[in-house]
């Protein structure tokens, strides 16, 4: 392993600073990797010319001693729901197939100003609705982790393209988005780090909306330190997003001190599910031991409302989605399918423009918001959400951080879990509670399943305490010493 695509963001920055290689060379190596890995279907749109242009500008800045940030010259993959000025943005949907935004999202603008080099726009579940990246209009993404059974596995979702790009060494970092686990679950399935900051840390302006009270941008990287470096260039207080929070921004990477002595780690007993594979439980126990060995104090805690988080989420998120996606009506932009009347044009456009999962969720949302059902479903769910938040707040009076598994299984084969939507929804059972409470959380690779697929460990902290998340995540990473590589890379070198 000595190729430029095998580096981390931190090592690349050091190499660029020392002049070991240029940003253009780094970009060229990654552009070649992206082109050679089209079988993974990780990208919807590749932007090699744009990448080289930005890499060249980065080299010029560095030559003048004026690198914009630690991300200057770093090649990244951007989920295709960030609006990018002049670059197609589809959100994985037919309805936006020909949409090219005339403006840049705040998060990608921040990354651009930090000097990051965008390699392209990554594949995703349509409108970020899915946990396996099998609902994209642009086809399934293939997980770079393969077993010798010849089956293609899902990379998780919805940020599956960014996960596959980072795991497959096509990019040093990926911008993802997380509504109920869409950064953390694919990170677990793909053997990388995925981090969702506190709701409000990153601006949602210019991100294609799924569920506005839950959507949050975050980094996907190969190390915890890289996640801290990349997050630094994504966050900002943005007047264009009224839920963006005016909060001081710490130096996230500086939080990686390895010192977690006397930190109290909550282990919520309700995350132990009936029928959960033994390997998930084993890794979780291992994680507890690792943190204990580093000087932390594990504390068993109880979060009794945990089991209600997922059904609550499946009222709240579809309700917000049905409202947000009402804008796709074929009138002003996007796909238009003609009909004999205006209503028929709407129905044809939306019937053909949206895939089955998006149609299903819009219909769930429409139903729970419809007259006569609003109180029974939507208001009920928002009350549950209050209880879930309060339960977290009370628990955090006694602990500093919580440790749970990220997902209840390793990556499954494409085609499995299709019969019953509820079975697919259960992928997010451990990630959704933190989403409903707006809490920061991270998935760190912990080890391999019995079959040899990656499994993640999940940490949750208090609002705006991302530093503790990175500090504890760094300790877990060091203890896990996860050096396994996806088998896809063996065929590449």
């Amino acid at each position: 392993m000595n190729s430029l695509t095998d580096l981390t963001i931190a090592r690349s920055r050091d190499g660029l600073d020392k002049g070991d290689f240029s940003a253009v060379e780094l970009a060229e190596a990654h552009i070649a990797a992206v082109e050679a890995a089209r079988d993974l279907n990780a990208f919807i749109t590749e932007t090699p010319e744009l990448a080289l242009e930005r890499a060249k500008a980065s080299d010029e800045r560095r030559a003048k001693g004026a690198a914009a940030s630690a991300m200057d010259g770093i090649p990244i993959a951007v989920k295709d729901l960030y609006c990018t000025d002049g670059v197609a943005t589809t959100a994985g949907s037919h309805i936006l197939e020909d949409f090219t935004p005339p403006y840049e999202s705040t998060v990608t603008q921040n990354l651009k100003e930090a000097g990051a080099v965008m390699l392209g726009k990554t594949n995703m579940d349509e409108f970020a609705m899915g946990s396996a990246n099998i609902t994209s209009y642009h086809g399934n993404v293939i997980n770079p982790w393969k077993l010798d059974d010849g089956k293609d596995r899902v990379p998780g979702g919805s940020s599956g393209g960014s996960a596959a790009a980072v795991a497959g060494h096509l990019a040093l970092g990926g911008a993802g988005s997380d509504t109920g686990g869409s950064i953390r679950q694919p990170a677990s399935f793909s053997g990388i780090v995925g981090m969702k900051p506190t709701y409000g840390r990153c601006s949602r302006w210019g991100m294609v909306a799924f569920a506005s009270s839950l959507d949050q941008a975050g980094p996907m990287t190969r190390t915890v330190e890289d996640a801290a470096i990349m997050l630094q260039s994504m966050v900002s207080h943005d007047k264009k997003d009224s839920t963006s929070v005016d909060q001081s921004i710490p130096d996230f990477a500086a939080a990686l001190t390895s010192n977690i002595k006397d930190l109290k780690v909550g282990v919520p007993k309700e995350y132990r599910l009936d029928g959960m594979p033994g390997e998930i439980e084993t890794l979780w126990q291992q994680g507890i031991e690792w943190l204990k060995a580093a000087g932390a104090e594990p504390v068993e805690i109880s979060l009794p409302y945990t089991k209600y988080a997922l059904p609550t989420y499946y009222i709240v998120a579809p309700a917000e989605a049905s409202s947000n996606l009402a804008r796709y009506d074929g009138v002003r932009y996007g796909l238009r399918v003609e009909g004999d009347s205006l209503d028929e044009m709407y129905e044809n456009t939306r019937g053909q423009g949206f895939g089955a999962e998006v149609r299903r969720r819009i219909m769930i949302g429409t139903y729970v918001l419809s007259a006569g059902y609003y109180d029974a479903y939507y208001v009920k769910a928002m009350k549950l959400r209050t209880l879930i938040l309060q339960e977290f707040q009370q628990a955090f009076e006694g602990v500093d951080v919580m440790l749970t598994p990220t997902a209840p299984s390793p990556a499954f084969a494409i085609g499995e879990k299709l019969d019953d939507p509820v079975q697919m929804y259960l992928n997010d059972v451990f990630t959704v509670p933190a989403s409903l409470a707006g809490l920061p959380a991270i998935s760190v690779p912990g080890g391999l399943s019995d079959e040899g697929l990656p499994l993640g460990l999940h940490l949750i902290t208090k609002p705006f305490d991302e530093e503790t998340l990175f500090r504890v995540g760094g300790v877990l990473e060091e203890a896990a010493n996860f050096t396994a590589q996806p088998s896809y890379l063996e065929g590449v070198a």
């Binding site: 009270s213 009138v331 238009r336 209503d343 019937g351 299903r360 819009i362 419809s370 959400r385």
Partner: protein, 100 residues
């Protein structure tokens, strides 16, 4: 949830669903809502519905124009844009007929 309910929701959502899809959706949505029913186990009588996960005051700004006069960019993705005699796009787009 029966087929008539599914068709009504589809109409409210302005989504065309085929006959065969209606049948599947009725089954799937019934399963999903049966699963959601477990929320009724929780007594929420004296609980306030959540309005925001982060306690913050709603920001406000001065009511003044801070953007605009950019018709070309605004209309860039319009699906039906007429042109003048010289072939230059006009600064409006055609919407489907709304009034019969």
């Amino acid at each position: 949830m029966d087929k008539a309910t599914v068709l009504n929701i589809a109409k409210l959502a302005r989504i065309k669903v085929s006959e065969s899809e209606t049948e599947n959706l009725a089954g799937e949505l019934t399963n999903i809502f049966d699963w959601i029913e477990q929320l009724n186990e929780v007594n929420t009588d004296n609980v306030e519905p959540m309005t925001s996960v982060v306690a913050m005051a709603m920001p406000s700004r001065t009511d003044e124009v801070n953007d605009g006069a950019d018709a070309e960019r605004v209309l860039q993705n319009a699906p039906d844009r007429p042109a003048d005699a010289q072939g230059n796009p006009l600064a409006f787009y055609v919407v489907p007929k709304v009034v019969e």
